[in-house]
């Protein structure tokens, strides 16, 4: 009995160990693939596209006759029992149910639904690209912070050695008492930095796991990436990129689809004297839902047409604003990239000089010279700051290149076509 109990306990504890903190090694390709298929926001949006696709079927099918028994009964009553204007009025009152295809507004609604589906696809493409961009940036940040952590650990180890040397010299009276104390304060500050970085990396890994659709408790281990040859990087020219950035932008294309749909909304109002449509424009059609469409020919029709025309103008202005935003982002990106290209050589020299200075001070301490503690601490801080700045620029290059790729749908973002194809197949 006792044996059985012990085995059960071992089994339960083994299971609970297996459940938490599952560690998965990932690379950048996996990040792109997993975000494309498992990311909650991307998946939600793909379902929305599916709804938009189904809205086309709903709109098409609603052109066919539908059975509304109560309406039929009331129309029959009007025809046979004689309503206010007799049989014709009864027949016409059921035309929207029996022959909805005779109402032109319904056809315009179908066309709008098709356009809104295309707009939804573009929206999906933009959202997918943004999620991939965020995930890749996070991956780069984890690598940057891990590099900084390793670098600070190394610096701490070097400082610890100096601390031991200084302590010995203080004991034998070769150095003033304050030096070791100052070094200890610096060591404690580095310990704080290390702990803060550990927490930051853990938070970044947790967020990346969430973006990749992993369950809570999954621990990610990111693989290193091939860094570009920084010495060969050249300045970028804004004029080279601006056409492509505007041409491929899904955000701009989405607005163009809305503008195209506005033409059908105008036609719908123009032909409203043949009946208004009660069909839905689909999920994205909300932008036209507040337009005043009246059933029948009334004195308000002209004003309604002017309102829809203005709506189209509003959309055109919004499209222009999005276009300018894309261009502004591109300009800013190119400027920052070029700034980093210029700064990279400086930073490399700064690291070299700071390291050299610290090395000389260390050598002086080892040879028994009296060294100003402030000078030593300042030198150690300089190395850490210079290397941190260099690491930051190196990873900023990666992020800038990735942002540029997102803007012009290059590299991983060229997979947007596959993502769209997959979603179109899924919604068929």
């Amino acid at each position: 009995m006792r044996k059985l109990l012990i085995s059960a306990l071992i089994l339960i504890s083994g299971q609970s160990w297996g459940q938490v903190d599952q560690e998965i090694k990932i690379d950048l390709k996996q990040v792109v693939d997993k975000v494309s298929t498992e990311n909650y926001t991307v998946y939600q949006n793909s379902l929305r596209v599916y709804q938009a696709k189904e809205s086309i079927t709903v709109a098409r099918m609603n052109l066919l006759p539908r059975l509304n028994l109560w309406k039929l009964a009331s129309a029959a009553l009007e025809i046979f029992a004689g309503g206010p204007v007799g049989a014709p009025a009864g027949a016409f009152s059921i035309i929207e149910d029996v022959a909805p295809f005779l109402v032109p507004a319904n056809w315009f609604r179908v066309s709008q639904t098709k356009i809104f589906y295309q707009a939804d696809l573009e929206g999906y493409k933009a959202l997918w690209a943004n999620e991939v961009l965020t995930s890749k940036a996070l991956y780069h940040h984890i690598l940057l912070d891990s590099s900084l952590k390793n670098h600070i650990s190394r610096s701490r180890k070097d400082l610890e050695e100096i601390y031991q040397i200084v302590r010995v010299r203080e004991t034998f009276g070769g150095a003033p008492q304050q030096v070791s104390q100052d070094i200890k304060i610096r060591l404690l500050a580095l310990d704080e930095d290390l702990r803060a970085l550990e927490v930051l990396i853990s938070e970044e890994e947790s967020l990346l796991a969430f973006l990749m659709g992993y369950p809570t408790g999954t621990r990610l281990k990111v693989s290193p990436i091939d860094m570009p040859d920084y010495d060969s990087l050249e300045h970028l020219n804004y004029d080279d990129f601006d056409f492509r950035a505007v041409d491929v932008s899904p955000e701009i294309k989405q607005f163009q689809y809305f503008i195209d749909a506005a033409d059908y909304a105008r036609k719908e109002i123009t032909y409203s004297f043949l009946g208004a449509s009660s069909l839905s424009r689909g999920l994205n059609g909300g932008i036209f839902d507040n337009l005043p469409v009246q059933s029948g020919l009334g004195f308000g029709t002209g004003a309604s047409i002017r309102i829809v025309r203005t709506q189209k103008d509003i959309l055109k202005v919004q499209k222009k604003a999005v276009e300018e935003t894309v261009k502004r982002n591109l300009k800013q990106l190119v400027n920052n990239y070029n700034l980093d290209v210029d700064n990279y050589i400086n930073l490399k020299n700064r690291v070299f000089l700071a390291k050299n200075s610290l090395k000389q001070i260390n050598q002086r301490i080892q040879f028994g010279e009296n060294v100003d503690s402030l000078q030593l601490i300042e030198s150690s801080r300089n190395v850490i700051e210079a290397e941190t700045a260099l690491f930051s620029v190196m990873f900023r290059f990666l992020n800038s290149e990735d942002k540029l790729s997102r803007l012009i749908f290059h590299g991983d973002y060229a997979k947007a076509k596959d993502a769209l194809k997959r979603i179109q197949e899924e919604v068929k």
């Binding site: 004029d239 080279d240 492509r244 790729s405």
Partner: protein, 147 residues
């Protein structure tokens, strides 16, 4: 008399159909000439990019428009039967060499900077080949200007 009227109607209808196809080809051909003239104007700026886009979009639209309309598709096949395939292809398609040159000129700092329609050119040619009848397709495949 009835037969004569029928014959006149038939000829008029065929001529109208042919002129529609000829007009479509002529539109694409004009844009091809512009695109070819743009080819060497590197580095491409907005104007050149727009010209290339106009051409490659027109080829795609030409192919899809014919493919999506069975009547135009039939007219197109009957028009091509009486034409030299090499002449037709050199009218509307840029040569493989020129296309590769355009693609090369479109790439700067390892980024592809032209419209995506340039890359989709082979897809447009594929759509075009799908419209053709078996004999014409064989001819299309064997004609160097169509590759």
């Amino acid at each position: 008399m009835k037969q004569l009227i029928f014959l006149i109607c038939l000829v008029a209808n065929t001529a109208f159909a042919q002129s529609e196809i000829v007009s479509m080809i002529s539109d694409v051909s004009k844009l091809r000439v512009e695109a070819e003239a743009t080819l060497v104007a590197t580095p491409y700026r907005a104007k050149e990019h727009q010209m290339l886009k106009n051409y490659f979009v027109s080829v795609r639209n030409f192919a899809t428009e014919i493919k999506n309309n069975s009547r135009t598709s039939r007219r197109f096949n009957s028009y091509l039967t009486g034409q030299e395939m090499s002449k037709f292809c050199s009218e509307i398609l840029v040569s493989l060499n020129d296309w590769e040159q355009i693609k090369m000129n479109c790439t700067r700092n390892r980024f592809f900077l032209c419209t995506e329609d340039v890359n989709e050119f082979p897809d447009s040619k594929k759509v075009l080949s799908e419209i053709l009848s078996a004999d014409l397709l064989q001819n299309f495949k064997n004609t160097p200007e169509c590759q």
